[in-house]
Symmetry: C2
Subunit: 215 residues, 2 copies
């Protein structure tokens, strides 16, 4: 029943402190600790934790790379990133790598334990101040490029069909065959689709289609 936790942390003192804290908690068990992520694939393979507490800064491979590897191999394992830094881009990268939550090392033990429980139950704990900065970073960096469901979906049924074929990777000729219309008609539809979606090329249209669930 206990939450099985693995710790990746290069600092021995911190590592052992975390282990002690976790093992003195009723509903948790620290089943393994590691001082680096160089064998993270094997470590995870053999240890099978529920949650990984991951230091973002480590000698050799970083915690972000390790997070990506873990989430690729075992998407069900939650990763809680822990760091001394408050670096928007690092946090951003960690989130992209699949981290479930993000806490600071300065957070209290109670906060850490609570965050471990939260990620385990599917939540995404993150200190509000961190979240605010990251969001601003997103907006500034134009990471948020999705136009939400407003201007689109005035695609006609036929246009949606054509777009779906495009998402499948078909070229105009193949789409023409599948849709029983001429090559030129496909092109006309595609032009209309681009205008309505405000895109200029195929891959942008596909991106939007996916993001907005038009397909």
């Amino acid at each position: 029943m206990n939450i099985k936790i693995a710790i990746f942390e290069d600092n021995k003192l911190i590592r052992e402190a975390l282990q002690t804290i976790i093992n003195n908690t009723d509903d948790m068990l620290c089943t393994a600790t590691f001082s680096n992520v160089n064998q993270v694939e094997d470590d995870i393979e053999f240890n099978r934790p529920d949650v990984v507490l991951m230091d973002i800064e480590m000698p050799g491979r970083t915690g972000i790379e390790a997070t990506r590897i873990i989430k690729e191999k075992s998407p069900h394992i939650k990763v809680l990133i822990q760091t001394v830094f408050n670096d928007n881009e690092k946090i951003f990268n960690a989130l992209c790598a699949g981290a479930s939550g993000y806490i600071l090392k300065s957070d209290s033990p109670e906060k850490i334990l609570q965050s471990l429980r939260e990620v385990h139950s599917g939540g995404g704990p993150m200190s509000a101040s961190i979240a605010s900065k990251v969001l601003q970073f997103f907006v500034r960096q134009n990471v948020i490029l999705v136009e939400p469901n407003t201007t689109n979906c005035d695609l006609s049924e036929r246009e949606k069909q054509i777009l779906a074929f495009m998402v499948e990777g078909l070229n105009y000729l193949d789409i023409a065959d599948k849709a029983f219309i001429s090559y030129e008609t496909v092109r006309t539809h595609v032009k209309h689709i681009y205008k309505k979606l405000h895109v200029a090329c195929r891959s942008e249209a596909i991106l939007k289609a996916r993001q907005q669930g038009i397909v």
Copy 2:
């Protein structure tokens, strides 16, 4: 020198209260107030504010639509969204529409004035609790689709130059002129860039370049 502010707010009491607060502040001037956004194009055209204080919920066209229109026509105008709601999706949509910041109507006048100054100077004020919720919403909704800095940046200096020209919107011929090389060489570089960035077309390359700060 004053920050010129336009208010869009359907509630007359709130609208006039905001106007009074702003006009009693040294560095700000409320140059116009509107009870709806149905003529927002013209309103902005004639009024030319620095910052727009926008109610998200209004009869007729919503503040989100208005925000998108404003940012399309006048990207330099900052929009500060104000609402009684704390709805992740609404906030998300507002951000996508180009809003610079997001505050609650329950925020104090001081907070509102401070936020107006922040957006005007390029910041993105947002209550930390709102940001946290929105971020979690993003992660859950898989809005964040960006592959962070992993495989790229092995671009050569020359390739980065070419990519920068592409970001500026130049075509092959113009890039060739600017870089003092032949059209064909530009094309060769571009092909290499695409391979290294794992993209298949110009706009994808530009997207990655922006997101990963290669430019």
